[in-house]
């Protein structure tokens, strides 16, 4: 699929005349590509073409034939809608043919999508939701400076509209705080957003003041003055801070008919207008930038031994002792830290999520990014780009702050591990703002995600161990309070499995829970046993994928009687996951207990009772079920 050329060796860098010709080619190809596809963002590509031509020909240190090389620079288009420009650069780098681009851009199944994704080997992260590329790049640059300890640079092309996103200022602030001199943001200030003028227009003074106040080094340039751009790009990295090139540009530059004109965002030129524009830009060309030997000395990127997490000695617990799963989470992280690829990112709550014990054990691989959940998740994504094994944690409720980043992580094919502590009303007195009650729905809906919710310390440790090796977005939900250890150390907890904590050959009902409600179900079963009602108790610690087989078997064995108990709002959580798994099972007599109220403050037990998730509520639910399903075949229609 990719045209991998292997031409010229250590040619000298092109002079600015050649760079100007390259810029013309990038423009021509971006115009042709979008016109051929019938959609795309040519004008947003035009404004940045000169910037990217200078970068590609004279500053980007990248072995195009070996995108996986550990010492390559990184180039991230935070303004992902300029994909025609990015792909035109790939052509100029010699890794894709003109034919392929022109025939495949924005076609189904093609890697040349409307916004870049890592389906292409030169793309680190998916972009297209504004304000994410730069925060992701902070993660890559953290890896470069503190973990790889290498000289590669991270270049990010940003739009001006996206500077209105708060996440960009989280990124600037954190990049400066961590002295990421290896990070350069190039802001294409073309003054026009999707539907009109941006907030600050071409007021580079105000941009400069903001960037500077956030600790970065601003350089204001005319983004179409090749010499000025070249000088700016050549000056980065000399001080101990990130550089932000504030480039004043013209949207549509190079196509006189649409330059600096509103109404042309995201619109390809009609083919006649495209022909005129291409001719005006000097016609079609096929320049390929010379392959260069690396232009500056590089630090070695040290080998990171692929240490197996299975060889790690994990913490163990005494059955019956009370341990919070968040505590077990932190202790498991410390153990996994024996793998030098394991990195922990925090958002100023490590003493609550218990991730902070990792900071003591492995301070060099712990990054607290302050109260900025979006940047925390983005950093995890960036770290995964460099092959690290990031774990990020905050209150489950506050992961909602980063949902757009989590969603995009799936498109980025990033392997990230998230932990949400303080799940549900169980947290007690702090009140509803601190309670994760939507997190299961949110995390289940992410493509390719894994959602885990252990009930005790032993299963937590084992699931965290497995998360180490999981692909995609993996989520672990932990509980604030301490509950009895239910399992023997060393018991297996496969992802997609479940545990049957209680069962007999003649059970009347299945009680299914996860996390804290497993303990409630066990108590309810005990209470029911006193009245002669026998319950199977299932610990559905793997919420996605769910153990359909065990669930179906157990539910069928009780004539379809199922009570699902979850500390989460009724929608999208354990109940719906279970019922969908059972949708083929006949008959089903269901009671679904979930948090249907808006909780207040109180002690955990009080709030669980208020939400009708206490032991007596489960017992009552079983009574209702039994009453209406004396025999299995009387149920339903």
């Amino acid at each position: 699929m990719f045209d991998l050329r292997d031409d010229a060796l250590s040619d000298p860098r092109w002079d600015l005349d050649m760079v100007g010709r390259l810029a013309g080619q990038l423009r021509v190809d971006a115009i042709r590509m979008s016109t051929r596809a019938g959609s795309g963002h040519p004008t947003s590509s035009m404004s940045a073409a000169d910037l990217m031509a200078v970068l590609l020909a004279r500053h980007l240190d990248y072995d195009w034939q070996a995108p996986a090389r550990a010492d390559n620079d990184h180039l991230i288009f935070s303004k992902g809608h300029a994909s025609p420009l990015l792909y035109a650069m790939y052509k100029a780098a010699g890794v894709v043919s003109d034919d392929e681009l022109m025939s495949s851009y924005r076609r189904p199944g093609s890697p040349w999508q409307g916004h870049p994704t890592p389906v292409l080997p030169w793309v680190d992260v998916a972009t297209g939701s504004l304000g994410q590329g730069l925060p992701d790049a902070v993660g890559v640059a953290l890896a470069g400076r503190y973990l790889d300890r290498a000289d590669y640079r991270v270049w990010v092309l940003c739009g001006d509209s996206e500077l209105a996103e708060g996440s960009m200022w989280e990124a600037f602030g954190r990049a400066a705080d961590r002295n990421l001199s290896n990070l350069t943001a190039i802001v294409d200030i073309n003054r026009l957003g999707m539907r009109g003028a941006t907030e600050l227009g071409w007021d580079t003074d105000r941009y400069e003041a903001r960037v500077s106040a956030f600790g970065c080094i601003p350089i204001v340039v005319d983004g179409h003055d090749l010499a000025a751009v070249d000088s700016a790009l050549g000056s980065v990295g000399s001080m101990d801070a990130p550089t932000v090139i504030l480039a004043r540009t013209v949207k549509g530059k190079g196509i006189p008919a649409v330059e600096d004109t509103n109404g042309w965002h995201g619109k390809p030129l009609p083919s006649d207008a495209a022909d005129i524009a291409v001719r005006g830009l000097g016609g079609i060309s096929n320049l390929t930038v010379p392959r260069r030997e690396t232009a500056r000395p590089r630090g070695g990127v040290p080998d990171r031994p692929e240490m197996s997490a299975t060889a790690t000695v994990m913490p163990s617990y005494e059955k019956g002792s009370k341990v919070a799963t968040r505590t077990a989470y932190g202790q498991a992280l410390v153990a996994l830290g024996s793998d030098p690829r394991v990195v922990v990112v925090d958002a100023e709550v490590g003493n609550s999520t218990q991730a902070d014990v990792f900071a003591e054990a492995h301070p060099d691989r712990y990054f607290d990014l302050y109260t900025a959940e979006q940047q925390m998740v983005a950093a995890a994504i960036g770290l995964s780009v460099r092959g690290y094994v990031p774990f990020a944690a905050t209150f489950g409720a506050f992961l909602t702050r980063a949902y757009d980043f989590i969603r995009m992580a799936a498109i980025s094919r990033a392997d990230i591990r998230l932990a949400g502590s303080h799940a549900g009303v169980e947290i007690g007195p702090d009140g509803s703002s601190q309670m994760a009650l939507e997190d299961l729905a949110m995390m289940r809906a992410v493509h390719g995600s894994t959602v885990l919710y252990p009930s005790d310390a032993v299963s937590t440790v084992e699931l965290v161990r497995q998360m180490h090796g999981l692909r995609g977005v993996a989520y672990l939900r932990t509980t604030r309070g301490a509950y009895p250890v239910l399992y023997d150390n060393g018991e297996p907890f496969p992802v997609g499995g479940s545990k049957t904590l209680l069962s007999s050959d003649d059970d009347d009902v299945v009680l299914a829970g996860a996390g804290v409600t497993v303990h409630i179900c066990l108590q309810a079963a005990e209470s029911l046993a006193l009245e002669g009602i026998r319950a199977t108790v299932l610990d559905l610690y793997s919420i996605k994928p769910i153990d359909s087989e065990s669930l179906i078997r157990a539910v069928r064995a009780t004539g379809g009687r199922l009570v699902v108990v979850e500390d989460h709002h009724p929608e999208g959580g354990l109940g719906e996951a279970a019922v969908m798994a059972l949708a083929q099972t006949t008959p089903l007599h269901l009671e679904h207990l979930a948090v249907s109220n808006m909780p207040s403050s109180g002690l955990p037990a009080e709030l669980l009772a208020e939400a009708h998730l206490a032991t007596p509520d489960v017992v009552d639910a079983v009574h209702r079920l039994v009453a209406r399903s004396g025999t299995a075949d009387t149920a339903g229609a």
Copy 2:
């Protein structure tokens, strides 16, 4: 419940000696409250006690006996964890007794929750997720300046940790852009976050540079110097920009044992230490600030007539003509604009969501907040505080950016209306980053939410009309492409209802869709009819609440055969909503078609086919169902 005193009239403002005594009382009460509750944040209350004492006694213009008064100032604790301080202020304002506070704080069912919520009549918005109070306040201040055109002021107590949240900078930037001189943020810079030092510590110079660069007027003060604080608070509003008081404070101030000491965040004092602290602060007192006549001339807050949306002439459409539901959404908004309470907020995508037609019709009630979805939703919340009827729209995918705000809107009891355009793979060539594929799961899980997904222009208009009157968080999902109008103008589309587009007395299967998949189901039914298979086609336009009754009836009538087709990931959307509604129905033979792949770019029809959501896929699903359920009673166990 509330102790509503009605004492002194237009007393002069207390002098600073009295303010000092008040500050002591606030501290004492905050300590007692949290110690009695056994949890809470006394040290975070101590640092801001002097600031709030000065504000309460000398600057806040608030009729405590009439919190609904339209000309009242607004006070929002963005650092909601300082609730002991806020509630102590309420006691000093004379609206709650010492007894009630001491016995009810953080008790289940009590309005005195761990973080403030509008269960209390003096609280505008729920806080507790950092970085939200200020953005919400921007919405209130927008209403004050541009809609109410009144002189009330909006005061926000912010923490320093939360200045690491990007949302705060969205708020500062947008507040300055809109010249919100009626907004004052008071930042309690106590240097210590939850687990240690904040990023900038006491570096007020850097805070000042940032705030100033974002267009606000910074005033740096010693937050424990009552005269300096008084002077700062007295100077606000004179220039045409928001003021940000940067107050250097000491966490735990007034409790020598814990002042400026790490490890005391969110911890009540043990009762012996509390007793010592209370004595050191002068003991328990019961000062009540004198009720004041308004201190400055007020603009009148004009009456906003409660115009009924039902009286509005809504747009109508020709059956069979092709109209995008996003187009109908914009047109419905324009019509609803005849109610002067209707306000539209945008995040620089109005030309895509089609909300921008409202800007032309009612420019004075349209606020484009640039590419900042968090601020957009927060502004809607703030506008709802002042009784407006806000509609906010962006791509459904980008509402994920504001999920934490949407979740908190429910706790705030805010009535906000959100529209997410560009739903699902239907959008085509722009690729997966732009596709809403998790939005139904996310919105369904919000407490008290309504989730609507119309298939044509007529139903869209009618549902938008009803959203006008809905409480809580209402979400409308719209489609990018144009599809045939299916319904007659004026047909009712009750929330919680559904439409049966096709049915006979002897149907073999139910095809259930919403939005774009309704059209696919209709085509599939046509195709199935040719082979003699009769299908009921259901338009489940109300996804939450779902029309369980019609669904159950239809599914039972076909022997349990159901195909759900949705342009959304499989989890948490229409399929799970339907299956949960049917969980009691026996037997169920289900096929669930959803977007299980990671989509790429392409034409809508191509991507729907790629996701197995095209007409032949529905037909195949029916074939599978029929094959395994020749008669209903052979199904299942």
